[in-house]
Structures are given as C-alpha cells and as structure tokens.
Point group: C2
Chain length 678, copies 2
C-alpha cells in the first residue's frame, strides 16, 4: 500500500492539475514549436537590436535565444521525468531536486506550464505534509496559503503609489512648459495657485509665472510674448523628448512603447528576461513623465500596465512560490495588469476585465478574485494620494444627466463605423510604418526619429489650442456639456440669457463654435497622422488617450452638427416628438463620449472591458446602451476590415510566439499554419 500511494497521488494530481490548464492543451505542442520558429525568425529582425542591447537581467541574451527544445519530444519525456521526480521526491532537497533549477528557462523560451504547475503541487504537498510537525511549519503553511493575497496586496499598494507619483510628476512637467512657480519650483500650476488668495479663474494667479513673464515680457497679447512662449514650448518638448529617448536607449531599451503586446506574449508563456525588471520599471516611470511632458501624441495609460507588471514581477520574488515558478508568477502578473489599468483610469473593474479580455491567457476564477483585490487596493491607494486634488477618482466625470433618444442611435452607430474604419486604417498605417522603419535605415537612428517627431509635434501643436493642451484635458473638455457659465469657444452659442434657469436650452451656434470646429477638425487630422508615426518610437507610449481624443473630437463634431440640425429643423419628424425649443435635446458631450469609445474599440478591439472603463471614467451609467452599440459596431466593422487589433498586430510584427486564444482555425488548417502565423 505504501508503494502504491505515490502513484495514486500522481494520478490525482495530474487529473486535478488538468483542471487548471484551461488553454494549455494548445500551449504545449504547437506553441513551443511556434516559439522555436519565431525565436529563430526573430534573430533576423531588426527588433533584435534592442534585445542584444539589453543590459538588464541575467539571461543569455540575444545570441542564446534561438535554441529551443525540439518541439515534438518534450511531452513524453517530461512526463517520464515527472513520474521519476515524484517517486524520488525527497523533503530535504526541495531546491536541488527541481528539474532545471530556479532560472530554468532560457531567454526567449516558452515555459512548460504543465511542469511548473506540477512542481508547485509538489511543493505544496510537501508543506501540507510538514504542517503538522511543528508550530513553525504550520506557520509556514499559513504563510504559503496567504502569500498569493499578500503578494497582490503589496503589488496593489506599489502600483497605486507609482501611479500617484507619476500623475503628480507628469502634471508638473507638463506645466513647466508654460511657466514656473518661482517660490516653489517643484509645484505644478495648480499647486502653485492653491496658496493664492485670488479667485480661481484660470488666468489670474500671480504666483505662477509664465516663461515670457520670467524673461520680462509683460504684454500677454504681444507678438514677443507669443514667440517666447512658442519657443519655450518647443524647446522644452525637444529637450525632454531627447532626454527620454537617451535614457531609454542607455538604460532600459525595453521601456519603450506601450508594453502591452509584450505582456500579452509573456502572459501566454514566453520568457523575455529583463522586460519586467527593475531598470525597465525605473526608467519607464521617469521617461513616461518626460514623454507626456514633451507633448507627444501618446498616453501614459498603456505603459502604466507595463509598470504594474514590472512591480508584480519584482514583488513576486519576495514570495518564492511565485518568484521561482514562471507559471504561478503569471497569476500575479495578470492581477498586476488589472491594477495597472485600475490606476491608469481609476477604473478597478475595467482593469480586471481588461486583464481578462485583453492581456491574460490563463485566467481562472482565483486569479479573477486576486485581480479584483489587487485593483481595489491600487485604486484605494491612488485615491488616498489624491493626485488630482479632487475627492473622486473619476477622470472625465460628466455632470449632466440628459437622456438620449432612439433616433440618436443612428449617429451613434455611425460613430461606431467611423471608429472601426479609422481604427483599422490606423493599425494598417502604423504597422506599415513600423515595417518601413525596420526595413530602412530609419531604424538605425531612433534618437533622431524621436527628435524629429517631437519637433514636428511641438511646432504644429502650439498654434492650435486644442492640441496645445494636455490630451486628457482636451478629452475632458470635449465630454462636457456647455453650461451658461462656460465661455470657451466650444460653448459660444447665441443664447438668450433672460431666462437663467434654462441654461441648457437649444441655441444657434455662434462664431466661436464655428472656429472651434475648424480647429478641432485640424486637430483630428493632425492627431491621427502624428499618432501613426508616434506609436513605435523609442519612448514609452500608450495608445488609449490619443485614440480616445481622436474619437472624442469626431464625436463632438458630429454632436454639434446634430444639435444644429435639430435646432434648424425642429419640424423634421424625428425631432418633432423628442425635442422642443426650450430644452436642448441633443448633448454633444454624449457624442464625444461615444466617439471616444468607438475609436478606442476600433484600435484595440476591446468590448466589455472598454464599456466598463468608459463608464468608470465618466460615471455616465445611463449611456451604456449607446456606448455598447458603438463599441459593438466598431468591433464588427474593424474586424471586417482587419482581423487583429493593434496589440496583436504588433505581436505578429515583432514575431513573438503568441498563440491567440481567439483564433479559430478552419478545417483545412494544417499544423504548419498554426505554427507559423503570417
């Protein structure tokens, strides 16, 4: 009986561990082969320049990365090895008995999920067995049971802290383009004006000095003032852009880009040493603030996910259960990526769903709960830091509550089509440009490229007020409804102010609106084009915010058009029932919101997570049907034009061995097709 027991255990363990392998059955054979194929191919890619430059991590680097185990043989031999190690398992040799030691995977190899999970079960069994022996061992057992939760707790705290610091830092660095707080130079404009007793109108804060002020120009409407401001804007942009690219290239080549394609690949079971290391983390944090401050058309939300995963990776080494087991570590990384989105958008549930829908490969319910907890902690810590000085987390809070009407579904669906088409166009153009960069000499001069893009962006951005301001501010402004107190161009309606209570009544657009629409359409074209060239340069760059901005601009423009249509044609049958002259029946802000969701959907092809993120961002719970309709349309249209989203496209572009779980292979597929995508 004593002899038979281990065999029984092995069987039950294999049976139960099978339940943990949701998608692993595919991973084992073809993915390992794909890994080998892709790793070999990758060597010839330009991308490998970065890889071989990597000075971080202890891996074997580029040259050793091309060898993988022969794909066919690993299955059976591994099983044999397992049963042997099960049989000879010895309590005292916990570390030495592991088949390949701790750093058992080489760089650019695919992990063996089955073996890692089996190893974890062995470890666990050992702990459970010893638990009754002494008090210390039972404490160790307790620690082991809770270490997953502890780990995500720490990851959540660290992610929240990082996000808080970066938010404050990026704000300060963006403001320093325009001026400085002479008393405390490390204050952002808002912090500088907090001390001020003056009223809170934007222009009147004597403590804050614009650069022309500092250099002695006082006439805010003079040419000299404008030129000085322009020069400082461009100068600072180029300076921090250059600094960012230099830092990235010198210290952490992996810190560039959004990181989400690579994280998807890593979570699917690939090893890229140093990609989630501490240097990547530090350099990406610093350079991300710089990239935002340089005014480039990029967001800090995608990179936040990468940084949260870096945190997850670093913290997991405190818990050998996760740090020494690549398969288990991926559970922490899934939770960390949820925390990343949670702090990036203040959207904890959106983060969990993003991790589930977009990045994770293996997402059992236990990981769902841990991700939930991790996102909760991260959001909580960020809220405690309160980087924006508002008591709520909602970034683009909308304060209107106007209903939407059924006929509006038509423009919403048009926005969805727009998002799908433009999103697909964007992906195609961006991939085309990235391929060109790899093939041509351009790829050899990343610094020059960043310099050029920064210069062009800054020079073109400054004259247009909608591109000059921070992109998130632009989105927030586009989402808003015009109240009677708003005096911006976008809200310049010929209103009749005798009746103050009906501030939101329908009105004819004034000259300001026309001017704003012109500027917005220029901004739309510019943002779309420059983002194509920006996503892929060697600085940290996220896509969420630029995509949302493009969609929001288009949406707002359509919204204003609809509004004016309804105002000038109140007798049309679609408007007659719904609208009356005294109340605004069309809110352009809703269109901006829907447009932003549609465009983001077209670019990333997210669905559920995107809708949740949108309403966590805005609080607009009653617009869920329009947002869902637009996102669904956008996904359908986008999928019809181009099958994959931007992240998958970049995965294929870089030749990562990623076996998409969404892919369905048709019946004439042969194994080679699966193994070699593209």
């Amino acid at each position: 009986m004593e002899e038979h027991e281990p065999l029984l255990d092995v069987m039950s363990e294999l049976a139960t561990s099978a339940s943990a392998f949701q998608r692993l059955s595919t991973t084992n054979g073809p993915a390992a082969a794909a890994a080998a194929a892709a790793a070999t191919r990758q060597m010839s890619d330009d991308e490998i320049i970065d890889v071989s430059l990597a000075s971080v991590g202890g891996g074997s680097g580029g040259s050793g990365g091309a060898q993988a185990e022969p794909p066919g043989s690993d299955n059976e031999s591994d099983f044999g090895a397992h049963s042997k190690s099960y049989g000879t398992y010895n309590a005292s040799s916990e570390d030495t008995d592991l088949p390949l030691g701790v750093g058992q995977y080489e760089d650019f190899h695919t992990i063996d999920w089955l073996r890692d999970i089996a190893r974890d079960r062995l470890r666990h069994r050992h702990i459970v067995k010893k638990k009754k022996e002494s008090c210390w061992d039972s404490l160790k057992g307790w620690h082991d049971a809770w270490s997953g939760w502890m780990c995500v707790l720490i990851v959540g705290c660290a992610a929240g802290l990082t996000a808080g610091v970066i938010d404050i830092g990026a704000n300060w660095m963006f403001d320093i383009k325009n001026g400085i707080c002479p008393s405390q130079f490390y204050f952002s404009r808002e912090q500088c004006c907090w001390d001020s007793n003056s009223t809170f109108v934007q222009q009147d804060c004597p403590e804050w000095q614009t650069w022309p002020n500092v250099f002695g120009a006082t006439d805010a409407h003079g040419v000299w003032y404008y030129l000085l401001q322009y020069f400082m804007y461009v100068f600072w942009s180029v300076f921090v852009g250059l600094l960012a690219v230099t830092l990235v290239r010198q210290f952490a080549p992996y810190a560039c880009g959004s990181g989400i394609p690579e994280i998807k690949t890593i979570l699917s079971g690939f090893i890229i040493r140093g990609y989630l290391g501490k240097w990547t983390y530090v350099i990406k944090s610093v350079t991300m603030m710089m990239a935002v401050s340089a005014g480039l058309s990029l967001g800090k939300e995608g990179p936040m996910v990468h940084m949260a995963c870096c945190i997850g990776n670093i913290i997991s080494y405190l818990f050998p259960k996760y740090g020494k087991n690549e398969a288990k570590k991926r559970e922490i990384l899934s939770a960390a990526s949820a925390a990343g989105v949670a702090v990036a958008f203040g959207a904890p549930i959106g983060g969990v769903l993003f991790s589930l829908e977009e990045v994770s490969y293996y997402f059992p319910l236990k990981t769902l709960w841990r991700s939930f907890f991790c996102a909760l902690v991260a959001t909580f810590v960020l809220r405690s830091i309160n980087p924006f000085g508002t008591s709520h987390l909602v970034m683009f809070y909308i304060d209107y509550n106007s209903p939407w009407f059924f006929f509006e579904l038509i423009p919403f669906i048009i926005l969805g089509v727009f998002g799908g088409l433009v999103g697909a166009f964007f992906i195609k153009a961006n991939i085309h440009w990235c391929k060109y960069r790899k093939a041509s000499k351009l790829g050899l001069y990343p610094t020059a490229e960043v310099l050029a893009i920064t210069l062009i962006t800054a020079v073109i951005s400054f004259p247009n007020v909608y591109t000059r301001i921070n992109t998130s501010e632009l989105i927030a402004e586009l989402f808003q409804q015009c109240g009677p107190e708003d005096s911006t161009d976008l809200c310049d309606y010929n209103r009749n102010f005798t009746n103050v209570n009906h501030g939101s009544e329908s009105a004819e657009s004034g000259h300001g609106v026309t001017r704003a629409l012109w500027q917005l359409s220029l901004a739309l074209v510019f943002k779309l084009l420059i983002t194509i060239f920006t996503f892929g340069i060697k600085v940290p760059a996220g896509l969420f915010i630029p995509s949302m901005a493009i969609g929001a601009i288009a949406g707002r423009m359509l919204g204003v058009a609809m509004e004016q249509l309804a105002f000038h044609n109140p007798e049309w049958f679609i408007f007659k029932d719904m609208c009356n002259r005294n109340e605004a029946c069309i809110t352009p802000g809703i269109y901006a919101m829907v447009g932003a969701a549609a465009m983001l959907g077209g670019v990333t092809r997210m669905t559920v997570s995107l809708v949740v993120i949108m309403f966590e961002l805005t609080g607009g719970i009653q617009y869920i049907v329009p947002i869902m309709a637009a996102v669904m349309t956008s996904k359908w249209v986008g999928d019809a034009v181009l099958k994959e989203g931007i992240y998958d496209a970049h995965i294929y572009l870089n030749g990562y061995p990623f076996l998409d779980s969404k892919l369905e292979f048709t019946h004439t597929t042969i194994a080679a097709d699966v193994m070699r995508p593209r």
Copy 2:
C-alpha cells in the same frame, strides 16, 4: 495524398478543438462518472418527485435516468468512433450519420463535449466545402456563419419583451392588493393616476380606489378601513399564492425556485429535459408575477435568468447548428443568462459578468462577445418598452454625490463581515430546512406549505410599513438620501429650516427616525427568517432582492447610527477633520447600498459581477471602493464559515452532477473524492 488528407484534417481538428475545451479535460472522465453516481443517488432523493411528475419534454423521465455509460470506457471508444465517422463521412447523410441521432442524450445524462464539438466541426467543414458549389450553398454558408449572432439577437429581443411584460404585470398585480382603478381595471396605480390632473403626491389620486373605498369605507384612519385593507391584503396574497403553486404543480414542476442551480448544472453539461421548455417558460412567467404579488419574500430577478435561458433554448431550435448540438447550445444559453440578468436589473455588463463568473462553465471570448451583444439587445428592448415610465434604466438610481471618508471604511468592512456571516447562516439554515423538508412528511404537501408561508408572510407583513411595500421599493427608499422635501419617518430629523439651501446638513434624529429604526429592525429579523423558509417552496423564487433588502436594512441602520455618532461627538478625532456641523458628512444611503452588496455577496459569493451590478443598479460610480471592500470582506468571511454559495449548496443538496471549476483538490484527494462530493 488524397488518402492522407482526412487524417491530417482529423489531427488538426482535434488539435484545434482542444483549444476550445477549456475545462473539458476534467469534464470527460470524472464528471461523467459523477453524473452516473449522482443520477443514481438522485433516484432515492425526494426531489425526484418533481422529476417524475414532469409532464413536459419527450425524455425518458425519471426511471430511465439512472443509467449512464460506464465512466472509464468512453474515452477511447469515442475516439475510435470519431475517426471512423471522419473516415466514412458522407455529404448527403448529414443527419443520419450522427452517432446517436438528434435527441442523442437521454434525460439526466452528461453530454460528451468532445463529440459534439467534433460533430459541429464536421458540419461546418461540409458547409465550407459546398460553399463554392452554388449561390444557394454560399448563402447557406453565410447564414451558418451569422446564425450565432442572429440567434442571440432574437433571444435578446425576446428576453427584453418578456421582462417588460412581466414588470408591467407584476406591478399591476402588486397594486391590486391595495385597490383598483375602476375605469381601467388593468391599470396599475401609477398608470391610473397618470390621467389624473391632481398633483403627484402619493395620497391624492381620486381615480385610484383602495379596496375599503370600493366597499364603502371612507374614513382612511378608521379601524374598519384598516381591517378591510388588512383582510384584502391577506386574502389576495393567499389567493394568488395558491394559484401560483397549483399552476406550477399542474403544468410545470420545473418552474419553481430560482433555477440558477439547475442552469449552472445544465451549462456544465448535464441534460434535464423540459427544464428549459416552453411550458416552464410560460408557467414561470405567469406564476412569478403571482408570487411577487403574493407579497412573498422573493424576487423576480433569479427566475428571469431561468426564463431567459428557456428563451435561449427555444430559439436555438430555429438554428439547427445550435438546437441539434448540445455543446453548441450551451453557448447560446450562456448568452441568454447574461440577457436575463441584464433585463432583471437593467445591468447589461453585470449580466455578462454574472454569466462568466457564476453560471457559465465554458466561456470563450466568442461567447463573451455574443453575451455582450445579447445583453445589449435585451436592455435596449426593455428600455424601449419602458415599463417603469422613467427614461433611464437604473432601478435604484441614487441622486446624491456626497463623498465618503476613509474612516468610513471601518463600518463598511463591518457590513462586509455582517454580510458574510449572515449570508453563511442563511445558507446553512436554508439547506437545513430543505433537508428537513425532504426527509419529513412536509415534502408531500407543497401546496399546504406555500399556503402557510403566504399566510404567515401576509399577516406579519401588513402591520409593518417596511414589509408591506414592495421589496424593491423598500430598497429604493433605503438607498435614498433625505432631502428637505422628504417627510417619511426615515427622514424625520430635527432640522433647522431657516437655511433652505443647506438641506443636507447634519441634524439630530427625530422621533420618526427612532420609530423607523424599530420597524426596520423588526423587518430585518422577519425578512431573514421568512426568506429561509421561502427559498425552496414550489413557486418561482429569486434571492437577489430579499438578500439585498436584508443587507440594505442593516446598512441603513448602521448608517443612521454612524450619522448620529458623528453629530453628537463632533470632537472625536476621526470626525473632527472630516465633518463640520453645517454639512452632513455621513450619508446613510451609502451604507444601505454597501450593506446590500455585502449581504448579496455573502449569499451568492459573487465578486466582480456583483460590484458591476451594484453600480449599474445605482449609478454610484464613486462608491466603488467601499462596495468592493465590503464584497471582498463578505466573500472572505463567508468562505471561511461555509465554503459554497447558495447555488452550489443547492446543487449539492439536489445531487446534481456538477464539477465545480472553482474547486481545488488537495494532494491527498483520490479520484473517488472528486467523483462523489459531499
């Protein structure tokens, strides 16, 4: 070459279909065995009374249900059968060639996922092959490709329609307890008063006649009036209760209960004939309105999921791809259950997540998108019907926007602990009672049981205003903040009305609040106890609303206590920084909301989906951290006391062969433990 191709195809098909089997590796061996074991065991259970009574469906019923294939043998023999059928596959014999024909599974058998998916691939391949032959065939191919989306579209529409009709019907039937609209007897109170020109104060609608009015009693404060009202209330309750149980017993025994445990089992691959049939659907729709109208402590949200799944099942027969393939049909059922929650709560995203987290077994991304679309359509249709007469879908919309403070996390976590403990107590007590019912003679008299419960509920409910009203109205009232215009007991504060603008200032509680608290505490105890006995009787009965009501009462009481604590002790250090006398710093409504979430979490052990449902219900996006904290605590505490949620507990109670994907087996588990839970 021609000979080899089929073999290659088979291989690639098996490889790719393996990717579709997320959790199937476990289902195949142990679940089939568990099915056999459980089905055998079930025969001795009392529950089988219902099963053998079932007059619906064409299955072999109870007696034939105990036989299953020998668990060990099916794996290899099936594979053999497959390769044979692959080899001999003939285009013209699509229907006859299927291994066991259309109704190939017997009642109470577990389906063979692998075979069904393989069959679907065969069918698909056949269509793809023929596609190029003629225009008609290519049209058929197109229809086949889109039939999944078409199917969920129709399911969504039907679910939305059903929900609209039921909402209107239940409203009317609930109002008829109190009175009638003589001009149009089929109008609910609200509809009746729409025509009225009188102001919209609750008491003043001459069109609506209470029963005492009808019988000639005019003095609304007289004893006679009260007694007449009481009598009619009890009489109507007992009458509709009796009608409901008779209908259920006569026509559709499967229509009782919430249906969620059975749907979980069905989705995990079990066959219960007639459980999702048209009779169940019709009878459940009708009797659910009656059960709600009988004033029983139950909700119509859980049954709505069951009814949506019935719709899914019925509609799937329009599309042979789904109707004739049990494995594929489950994809539609997953989407349908999402639509069910979506229309029950007006929470489309919550529905998708509920389907993912709670009921579904196999949930690939394609099903996620379809569920999303199905929920969207259902929500849209329901909104078009607009059963509540409000333009937004949010059921318990909260209109306050007051912040919460960090120290409040302590009471929120206390609510979480309360939810976890009381939830676990509720499950234990309810399971205990259900076991007693099965074991004793009580189970033989379901009609008498319903009669008794209805009578007791009605007699006790009427005197207490908080139990007399509809449970959803109670929840809505508890979630609200007191404004200066509110004159209910709960809002009876000794306010200083000289300053009208500060309506929400902190104030001492008046006598009304004390009275309300007393009544609420009685209601709490009563609801908790009566729900234990109610959940399990032979009428349709959901648990969401009663659980939320219990939690909301507890939360509101704690909230008022905190509020008064802060008012009377403003010098305490936790209150000193946060609160000042002129502004209310504690909103009892938030506590009610958090309490409702915590209690529902304790009973069902949902996490992410629950949080999303809560904020789709209330629109309270800025209270996401409190709700998440309470739900997480509640889950932890609940799991510590009792491992399974109410649905899993009922699955075990009824002996369904359900292999929980959340279960993790420890290392000493032997196969028999997995096969025989309990």
